[in-house]
């Protein structure tokens, strides 16, 4: 009996047709001598017979109904969904196309100064969008260049190009040099800005002579009002004479003399637009350092 587990296992394999003819003969020789293994073999065979004889439980009507349900949930639903999605998708496509035609390519970035290159006494300013062809005369005649420490980026008071700072009573500072240099639209509306800039005196060392309204700089007094700090009040520096031309989406500024060094503000008129109608006109700040140009803003 203890040895019979091997023959029981062989019997199971024989039932499945997995025994070689030699092993099969050997098993039958054992069965002829072992009533226990014959009993096991008969039981295995009977179980297999009963399992094979069990009736099918699948009811054709039930299966047909189930097939109908599955087809409804899969292919019919997908067909319906495809029909429902077609019109919204078409409407979206039409709206997207119309918006692109009307507003320009929606995937394009807004117009910006992309690169500034110095070549000799020429400054080449390239924009990332082609300009509107009708606004080029304004680009040439109204582009303003101003240079000087007042346009320096605010990177710290120790910088040699840091803006001036002074104390004055509130609302006491006035004068043309405080407006155009800061406000984009006001400056761009002034076509004579380069000339204005050239007519102003260059700031003296330390910047003190650039302060025009010295009588406004009364010391703070508790009766005259609160003390406030203003910055960048120095007047625009004189830039050397220049001419402006346009080549595609590049504005070329040719200076009569050497390129100004340090911070330079470039004012493009608000009416200059890219070919999609988006304005290029705004103030750009670059810093020229011996041929190396850094775009600081916007």
């Amino acid at each position: 009996m203890a040895d019979c587990s091997y023959w029981e296992y062989q019997t199971s394999l024989a039932l499945d047709g997995e025994l070689s003819p030699g092993a099969n003969d050997e098993m039958f020789r054992h069965l002829a001598e072992c009533p226990h293994c014959r009993l096991v073999k008969d039981a295995f065979e009977k179980s297999a017979q009963v399992l094979r004889a069990l009736p099918d439980l699948a009811d054709p009507d039930l299966l047909a109904g189930l097939e109908h349900d599955i087809i409804q949930k899969t292919y019919r639903t997908r067909r319906k969904l495809n029909g429902r999605l077609l019109w919204p998708a078409a409407a979206l496509l039409v709206a997207f196309t119309a918006a692109n035609l009307w507003l320009g390519p929606l995937w394009q970035r807004p117009a910006l100064l992309a690169a500034a290159v110095a070549q000799g006494n020429r400054l080449e300013l390239t924009f990332n969008q082609p300009m509107d062809g009708t606004s080029w005369p304004e680009t040439v005649t109204k582009t303003g260049i101003t240079a000087g420490p007042e346009y320096a980026p605010r990177v710290g008071s120790s910088s040699p190009a840091a803006p001036l700072s002074l104390q004055a009573t509130a609302n006491s500072l006035a004068g043309p040099e405080f407006g155009p240099a800061r406000g984009g639209p006001a400056t761009s509306a002034n076509p004579a800005l380069p000339q204005t800039a050239q007519s102003l005196p260059a700031p003296a060392a330390g910047g003190s002579s650039a302060i025009k309204h010295s009588d406004d700089l009364a010391p703070s007094h508790p009766l005259t009002g609160p003390t406030r700090t203003f910055s960048a009040v120095a007047p625009p520096a004189a830039a050397p004479p220049y001419t402006v031309t346009r080549q595609g989406n590049t504005i070329v500024v040719s200076f009569a003399g050497p390129l100004p060094q340090g911070p330079v503000q470039i004012l493009i008129p608000a009416s200059v637009r890219d070919r999609w109608g988006r304005p290029l006109g705004q103030a750009y700040l670059i810093v020229i350092d011996h041929g190396k140009i850094t775009i600081k803003s916007p």
Binding site: S12, A43, L51, I71
Partner: protein, 166 residues
């Protein structure tokens, strides 16, 4: 490649009855309906090559049945129709009675087996699946299928012997 509606219907007609029978013996008719539906919904979403559809269907059905057993204890109480009277009209009534009585005892012992063992026997005896096919469906090795089938048959035999003694 997803199946076209015609291909899907052909696959359903070819395999749904066998899958239903297999699942119904493991989980009962009502659950088998839901499981077979789930199998074919998965087939709709899956991309199964034409020559691998049969093992894929059995594999999914097998695992759904085993999961069902693990999740609920209702497996032992599912209603399965009685074994019909298959005796010929002129068969000995006593023989017919003994056959029905043995089948009832056999089914009771069969339902007491673990679901994995029930599935192995069903696949082998009713679906004529080879050891390799059973291994692919269940995830066991061929050697494991061989020894598990032997142990299942032996367990069934011992359960029937025990029932006879009682």
């Amino acid at each position: 490649m997803a199946h076209s509606e015609d291909e899907f219907e052909a696959i359903y007609d070819a395999w749904a009855p066998a899958l239903f029978n297999f699942a119904a013996r493991l989980v009962g008719c009502q659950e088998a309906r839901d499981l077979v539906q789930e199998v074919f919904l998965r087939l709709f979403r899956a991309r199964v090559a034409q020559d691998k559809v049969r093992p894929w269907l059995y594999q999914v059905t097998y695992h759904l049945c085993i999961d069902h057993h693990r999740k609920s204890n209702a497996a032992r109480t599912y209603p399965v129709p009685d074994f019909p009277d298959r005796g010929s009209p002129d068969a000995n009534p006593e023989t017919v009675y003994l056959a029905k009585e043995f089948t009832a005892r056999f089914l009771a012992a069969f339902r007491d087996l673990p679901p994995e063992q029930q599935a192995l026997l069903l696949l082998r005896e009713r679906n004529n699946a080879s050891y390799q096919e059973i291994a692919a469906i269940t995830g066991f090795t061929v050697e494991a299928v061989r020894s598990r089938l032997y142990r299942t048959r032996l367990a069934l035999h011992r359960a029937l012997e025990k029932g006879e003694a009682n």
